[in-house]
Symmetry: C2
Subunit: 356 residues, 2 copies
DNA sequence: GCGAACTGAGAAAACGCTTTCTGGTGCGGT
DNA sequence: ACCGCACCAGAAAGCGTTTTCTCAGTTCGC
């Protein structure tokens, strides 16, 4: 008590650079003008006498003054920051989206704040809310939460853009890859090569993109009754593929559609260890066309998704929302492009069905 | 003029939720208490009558009130956010660091803001400054800027931790991987296998970790005069390795130390296309032990770096700095672990030197 | 030569929160 | 019964900006 009082007496309202960091006030004092004028100069407001402006600029330079972004944010009501929530930062797909988003946003002077939900869907809601409050907008990447929950929180997250997920909440653009068409293209490719027994090594159950693939395969099966398609449980990483070898062999399939490139690579590796030849014995396909896919042995047949571009587009959509351009949130769909490489080849010996 | 005046008269200082978003004031009004009390309740201050606290909590819940982090940040002088600057977000190494950092920081309630300098060193200084001002601390990842510049800006960036780079500026912990020892281990492994002609496929010239590798190789050469080591220019990605095939073959080396796993994979892919066998004809090694390394064909011999852990440790160091624990910024060095897999084998035919 | 319009800069309010300061109430001690 | 102390909640002062408001000093027009 006494102490603090004594201190205050010794230091009567001087404060100056109390926080240690120099602020607008210091510049104002040094230049002999008011805070307001300094602010005007720093923001390029031309209603300031050029001579005074020069003096302020000199003072600012000398003190190496840089405006405090937090103060600015509070006054301006914007942070020049956007947030992105991803289910798993270790996943190359989300890394690529993040990269595209970050690059595009940076070009407009925005930074990105990341939030990794580690695939636990209950965290997503909280993370999204927190991130949104600190930012001017949010990108929700393949959220694992339920449709109902997504729809419920969407309004409070606006401006919001969704990647690989849709919602009926209004004003929320969605950027989705047409995984359904992609798997159909891949399956078609395998059938053309003579495969009649296919297997799909599925992804994370809660993943919407996995759902889209499953739906695509249903469509495919309906159109190709002669083809047998086995569904196998899986995941989204290497190890999933590696551990699925037994299940894959047990299925008797000769053409394997892996959930994504990672799973395909794990699977190929496992098959190789068993002494099986790809594509001699079994054809394997991936999805995404991650950079590595070109360089596996054999090079992986896959469906290329312009994933970095997706991140970039996400920023453009979000920017439009932030700027309140009444673009009615179009959203868009991306068609994967079949990329035939060396991991697929003619079926070895059709076992269950005889053609021609 | 007249308009605005009329407006003000009609709306005399009501404001309420001017920003559209509900604030502490709304809760205060609803609960019939002051802002201060709401703040106290929200922050778990127990000097509030339980009954009033309950009323406030009810009001907050009903209005779905969430404190505005920007206002909080300004008042508290902290943002609960840290920044990380990386030279290239596409590089798996930096992705892994980011992941480790993000995960560790999240556990302490901190978020991370990313800044990608795209390998242009002049951007780094600006990005670092901007990021730092928005955050409570900064991680500078393998900065490409000069030692002088780094030392100059380091004080203004404090709390700061460096990854794979050191500086003489005080109070800046450094987390470095001992790449020098790593390449020596790898080179030693190749020599044990009988290789006497090695080649090093270098990384980005400005990369400090590349410098450490070069230094390590110098040490190695001094200790193994019988071994010839060719230096080849390179980079840090797949394509670098893929395009280096000619240079590698021209060198006549039988053991190739690639800058990292990516380069090694690209190289193996290129060699495979030329019909060369790894490790039959040429042994190839990588560095980092990225997740993919286990799954290449042949599986890649490499030096494993606990890179995610590095990101994690970076957070712990930064946290200590933020909390002003006087830990005198120890920093630490990580030893890579040689991971022998299938991409290295006995030298085919020692050409220039004959042993025992 | 005087009022109106204009210019430019300072004063002050606002942004949304935390925290110190202040003051009223109720209690216990003497 | 009175003084003092502890308690608790409101008032207000920050935090570092931007921006509106205000007002003094000019300039212009008539």
């Amino acid at each position: 008590m006494l102490c603090s009082k004594a201190l205050n007496e010794g230091f009567p309202m001087v404060r100056k650079s109390a926080s240690g960091r120099i602020g607008i006030a210091d510049v104002a004092i040094k230049a002999g003008v008011s805070h307001a004028t300094v602010s005007r100069v720093m923001n390029g407001n031309f209603t300031v006498d050029p001579e005074i402006a020069a003096r302020v600029r000199a003072a600012a330079a000398e003190l190496k003054y840089q405006p405090n972004p937090v103060g600015r944010s509070l006054a301006l009501g914007k942070t020049d920051t956007i947030g992105i929530v991803v289910p798993d930062l270790a996943n190359p797909t989300f890394q690529a989206i993040l990269r595209g988003l970050s690059r595009a946003a940076a070009q407009d002077g925005y930074r990105v704040l990341i939030a990794d939900s580690f695939e636990v869907s209950s965290e997503e809601t909280i993370l999204a809310g927190e991130a949104r409050r600190r930012c001017d907008g949010l990108v929700l990447c393949a959220p694992r939460m339920s449709d109902a929950e997504l729809e419920e929180i969407a309004p409070s997250l606006h401006p919001l853009v969704l990647i690989n997920r849709t919602t009926s909440a209004p004003g929320v653009p969605s950027l989705v890859v047409d995984y359904g068409q992609g798997v159909q293209d891949i399956a078609g490719h395998l059938v053309e090569l003579g495969h009649t027994r296919l297997a799909f090594l599925a992804g994370p159950p809660r993943s919407a993109s996995n759902g889209m693939r499953l739906k695509g395969l249903e469509t495919f099966k309906a159109a190709h009754l002669e083809v047998e398609v086995t569904m196998l449980e899986g995941g989204s990483d290497f190890d999933t593929g590696h551990e699925a070898v037994d299940a894959v062999l047990a299925s008797g399939a000769t053409g394997i559609l892996a959930f994504n490139d990672l799973v395909a690579m794990g699977l190929m590796s496992g098959l190789h260890e068993r002494g099986l030849d790809v594509p001699g014995d079994i054809s394997v396909t991936g999805f995404d066309d991650i950079p590595f896919a070109k360089y596996t042995t054999p090079a992986l047949t896959t469906a290329a998704v312009p994933i970095t571009e997706l991140g970039e587009q996400a920023w453009h959509q979000l920017r439009a929302l932030i700027r309140k351009e009444g673009n009615e949130a179009p959203g868009s769909s991306y068609q994967p492009r079949l990329e035939v490489r060396a991991s697929t080849g003619p079926a070895k010996a059709p076992r269950s069905t005889v053609h021609g």
